[in-house]
Symmetry: C2
Subunit: 423 residues, 2 copies
Amino acid sequence: MQKLENRSKEELISRRKSLSEQYESYRRQGLKLDMSRGKPCPEQLELSEGFFADTKNLFTEDGTDCRNYGLLDGIKEAKALFAEIFGLSTDEIFIGGNSSLNLIYDLISKAFIHGLNGFEKPWCRLDKVRFLCPSPGYDRHFAITELFGVEMITIPMNDDGPDMDMVEKLTAEDDSIKGIWCVPKYSNPTGITYSDSVVRRLASMKTKANDSIIMWDNAYAVHDLYEPSDKLLDIFSECRNAGNPGRIYMFASTSKITFPGAGISMMASSRENIAHIKKLIAIQTIGNDKINMLLHVRFLKNAENIRSHMKKHAEIIRPKFEAVNEILGKNLSGKGIASWKIPKGGYFISLNVPEGCAKRTVALARNAGVKLTPAGATFPYGRDPKDSNIRLAPTYPSLDDLRKAMEILSVCIEIAVSEKVSA
Amino acid sequence: MQKLENRSKEELISRRKSLSEQYESYRRQGLKLDMSRGKPCPEQLELSEGFFADTKNLFTEDGTDCRNYGLLDGIKEAKALFAEIFGLSTDEIFIGGNSSLNLIYDLISKAFIHGLNGFEKPWCRLDKVRFLCPSPGYDRHFAITELFGVEMITIPMNDDGPDMDMVEKLTAEDDSIKGIWCVPKYSNPTGITYSDSVVRRLASMKTKANDSIIMWDNAYAVHDLYEPSDKLLDIFSECRNAGNPGRIYMFASTSKITFPGAGISMMASSRENIAHIKKLIAIQTIGNDKINMLLHVRFLKNAENIRSHMKKHAEIIRPKFEAVNEILGKNLSGKGIASWKIPKGGYFISLNVPEGCAKRTVALARNAGVKLTPAGATFPYGRDPKDSNIRLAPTYPSLDDLRKAMEILSVCIEIAVSEKVSA
């Protein structure tokens, strides 16, 4: 098929008429599909059906009563489970509540008010705090730094991770750069995994500020869709080897393993950092929900069992990623108006449309009953400078709904582009 | 029996010898009793044995899947349950995670960094922030304000609540006074309940600062030990009537109803305040654990059922409060060296020993295997100006252990006082 720009005016008019008709017919169906967030579908939740199988005895192996107060940093078994998954030691781990996002927010909040281990002063006392934001990235990260008044600097996101030349240069030169947001495996939304070289450079780069941290949101650590899965280099070893053990704060949760919003979360960092922040957290809470930790450990057992549990997740959602690929491919490939790539894991497909067409595409889709992540959300301040990136979250809708949504989206993209071309 | 001061030197020496012998014999037993925190005992936890009875269907009545993301402020049923208990409307309520302390910390944190509804600026931008701290009070409250650099002003605690003349005067005159800590029912640790007059004066008092708030930690709202229970006036109605609906932030949790540290928590305030803070919390988390909310609602059902559930708690712990009273009375009454009062609810007995004797008493007890709350903890900065208040938490130990601990404590008090007298 010809590229749009090469068509005659008549062809374009006729194509637009046909697109309008298709769009109207979809719109009249009054669909209501939500593809805006990375949300597991009901079939995935059923995989954790046996979660409450053993609630009789709520004691840990060492006799801790999970029904009563105590243990600020979580039960041993939960720390051991995450330690096994990530190759860490248990004193590098803090077990949180139901939300790793909350742990992340809380860390930034404490960095601002109280300061973290090794900080000369809390960030709130500084004139300027900047964060590097590889983009497209995770909107909720950017929302946190925006709320705290951080100046966010967009870093281009490549297929192997953030543009490290730029990251290294800025971090070495500017002591107001206090951190970088990373979703290092199956990145939200581009789906790429940071290369070994990128991980090593992050771990070893010179930072002008000595309170510059890496926010390592390892949200999709075990969320593979295909074998062989992407392998993410262990940044903890790299940081230790580079003499920067305190630079890294990692986050993960079981939200997309067991129950979204009713799982357990974890934060990992150097022993010293964890010991320091525990003193601050001790003022905030007596501890997180140990019953939920215990039930999680009983259900998930160990890293190997988690891997096989995650294979079942993959079997449910892989066909959805492939349906997106198939329908967008059928409708749009060769037209030069959309590019995307099916990731090897995670929850998103990052779709790029021609400059200036993302917002319009998302608005058209919404008007036809398909709710997508707002265009721009994947960039700092919600502003995509090119207005071209759209995040697709294919997991929640049924396969049928998803296919329908992708047909509609295809039409919306073509309309948006043709409006742009003829404008 | 004679008061200590009136005894002859010989009597004192002989009495001290006998006390020393008793103390040594206790010490040699190598006891290990912890009475430092208000912690339910295992028998109380058994009362929630049926908690996990129905985990098959995890949907709310309106079809919300509690296993998946969503609902920032909690499920309807949980809001309705707390609304019933406190006579509030559901849009005045936010359901939190497993810890009301965390909600409290979080509110103070947000007041400092972002500002709450109606604030001209966040407190971190002010030169000075002061809080009124009725004392003896709750050490964890004071620890939060201390962490945030708040200057804490001790307010004497009377039998009907804080000294309101002082509270009103300071609050009307000083615009750096931004709040007051209150545990209004069965106060921690004195066990008193604020009188109607105190509640009305708090609700209606003139504040020089228009961002001055009442931190109303209603931790023991349904935790009665005796009938008729203390009745706490509804401060929400009073605040509304006085034209100060936004002044009050209330907190509660099910920690001492179901499982300590694995319950659900709530914050209540005016509609406008809750709507405002929800916008801030939306950046922090997607929502709290809805499965735990649903299981709580199913188990606790309604306010009436909670009242009858709490009667069972009272049956278990009331004898412990009475044992403290009995043994301290037997050993110490008439000696003029200790005063205490059994509260009508809550978790603590506040014990006063002669000036300068609390720290020594607690140290002696600890050395004999009885761990008490550190002396001074019930005052701002951990400093009891008279060194005379000791908080007893009688609920966790078994009745036998508790009786033994009270015998030891009696000896420790007498030793501490006799050391002081002869010093």
